[in-house]
Amino acid sequence: MEIDGKEFKVDGDGFLTDPNIWNKEVAALFAKYDGIEELTEKHWAIINVIRKNWEETGMAPMIRSICQTTGIRLKEIYQLFPLGPARGACRVAGLPKPDGCV
């Protein structure tokens, strides 16, 4: 996948093949691809929680944990990431695609 002239190895859904190559620049580019022009402080709070959980447990966090850790309301999270916590936020945070109906 190419964004802004940069090449990324991703799966068919655009999730990073190697989550370890993720950095803040990747996050910004992926977000832009989804139509999020600029990552705000709230976006970053969500991304950081997801990233930390991934590094500690190897899984995406529950939405409860995202809400309670960041203090951001559920409905606002869906507004911040229009594709939702999985295809939106987790992808921007560099995680692999979760299993299930997402």
Binding site: I63, K75, L83, A86, D99, G100
Partner: protein, 430 residues
């Protein structure tokens, strides 16, 4: 490492199952009238003839002819008989897994009644027997079998989420005693969830909890087995489908529930309500119903009162294939919407002739076919755009995700909601 010949013999066994004269009939009946072509989203969008449903049936039929008919066995060049070799396998994987949502629209349009969806499921079964299930799809089945739910949610996380949602419910209905009961035996209803609800999209859990509260329902969730999905239905792995279905069956019996109510999930409803009695080969001592029908029942019996002025936006309805075309649950969701929203407008076509969202049949899980999936989605995008609706309601969490992606890609500017969310928003508490 098993060699290909071993795999081939396993795959060909699908043709010799004693119970399956249906398969043989349907493999030998297509008259190539072509009506199915215009039914299929993959063909309509791409005009690629390989995607015509009859061609997919032909592919499986040609292998049947090669190994199971006299001319095919001894004079394969005289017939359409085809070897089951690695090239045939690759083509089957691409077409039967990668270019079919098992939406069943072709079956409904077939001039002579070939159950095309069934034949394709059997083709998937051959591939699964041979070990060619796409890994991206199988991983969701594995998660369910190994952890008890298809997103591998640990029990403690599940409990924490429901406690959190229970606090919200108490605020919402202004009652400190409102609850989301867990593991309480002897209730009338054992309710189920799609794991993506507790993991990422809990608004529909809150909505159903509010509806149950308003209806004064006797209900419980189970922390042991709440997963309504059964992805082994998509992989056509009967043993795994049985394992998953049996867990929900056993949990409903253990909980002594009168009803097992299935969350808004198309394939899950099909797999547990309509397929599972066959999987498990027994009739169920409890009633199985969808939450869609339950909501309609609450309204018609006056157990919940709705104020449609609380839902003013124009809303349309997307029909999940497994629930509507395959399951026959067609009117309850329309009855509910007419009571719950001021402006409800149908898509064209709708009901049993509706187009799939494009994410069915396990497509959402199979990343390798993402581009194709989102291309076929242009049909659904146009259907939605033409309604002018601001909200698309659909009683299936899988459809919800695909519709959100469609909204994003085709810039429709719509919100996507489950039916329970819309109903909960219209509830007028006394």
């Amino acid at each position: 490492m098993k060699n290909f010949e071993d795999k081939k013999q396993k795959g060909l066994k699908v043709f010799s199952g004693q119970e399956d004269s249906k398969l043989i009939t349907h493999l030998n009946s297509c008259v190539h009238c072509g009506l199915c072509a215009e039914s299929c989203m993959y063909y309509l969008v791409t005009k690629d003839e390989r995607y015509i449903p009859a061609k997919k049936v032909d592919l499986i039929s040609s292998i049947y002819q090669r190994y199971c008919t006299f001319t095919g066995k001894y004079f394969p060049v005289l017939s359409k008989a085809r070897e089951l070799d690695e090239a045939a396998v690759a083509e089957m994987v691409d077409l039967l897994f990668g270019a079919c949502t098992l939406c069943g629209r072709c079956t409904k349009h077939c001039s002579i009644g070939v159950d095309i969806g069934y034949v394709i499921k059997k083709g998937r079964e051959m591939l699964t027997e041979m070990g060619y299930t796409p890994e991206t799809l199988q991983s969701t089945v594995n998660a369910a079998i190994q952890s008890g739910n298809n997103m591998s949610i640990p029990e403690s996380e599940f409990r924490d989420t429901l406690t959190w949602l229970e606090e919200d419910l108490r605020d919402e209905v202004n009652d400190p005693d409102a609850s989301i009961p867990l593991n309480v035996p002897g209730k009338d209803i054992l309710y189920t969830l799609n794991p993506r609800e507790p993991k990422f999209f809990p608004l529909s859990i809150s909505a159903m909890a509010k509806i149950f509260y308003a209806a004064k329902e006797s209900w419980t969730l189970s922390t042991q087995m709440y997963d309504v999905t059964n992805y082994a239905y998509f992989t056509s792995n009967k043993d795994e489908a049985v394992t998953i279905a049996e867990r929900l069956y056993n949990e409903t019996v253990d909980m002594k529930a009168k009803r097992c109510v299935l969350a808004e999930c198309g394939h899950g409803s099909r797999a547990f309500r309509w397929e599972a009695p066959n999987y498990l080969n027994k009739s169920f001592p409890f009633e199985t119903m969808t939450s869609v029908e339950l909501m309609a029942e609450y309204i018609s019996k006056g157990r919940i009162k709705l104020d449609k002025s609380l839902n003013k936006e124009v809303m349309t309805l997307h029909d999940p294939c497994n629930l509507v075309r395959e399951g026959g649950v067609i009117e309850p969701q329309r009855y509910v919407l007419k009571q719950a929203v001021e402006n409800f407008i149908e898509m064209t076509p709708h009901g049993i002739d509706n187009y799939c969202c494009g994410g069915g049949g396990g497509q959402l899980a199979m990343s390798e076919y993402n581009e194709r999936r989102m291309k076929t989605a242009e049909i659904k995008a146009e259907q939605i755009r033409k309604t002018g609706a601001k909200v698309v309601v659909t009683p299936c969490h899988n459809c919800v995700d695909q519709l959100m992606q469609i909204d994003n890609k085709f810039k429709l500017g719509v919100k996507v909601k489950t039916l329970s969310e819309v109903v909960a928003d219209a509830i007028a508490l006394e």
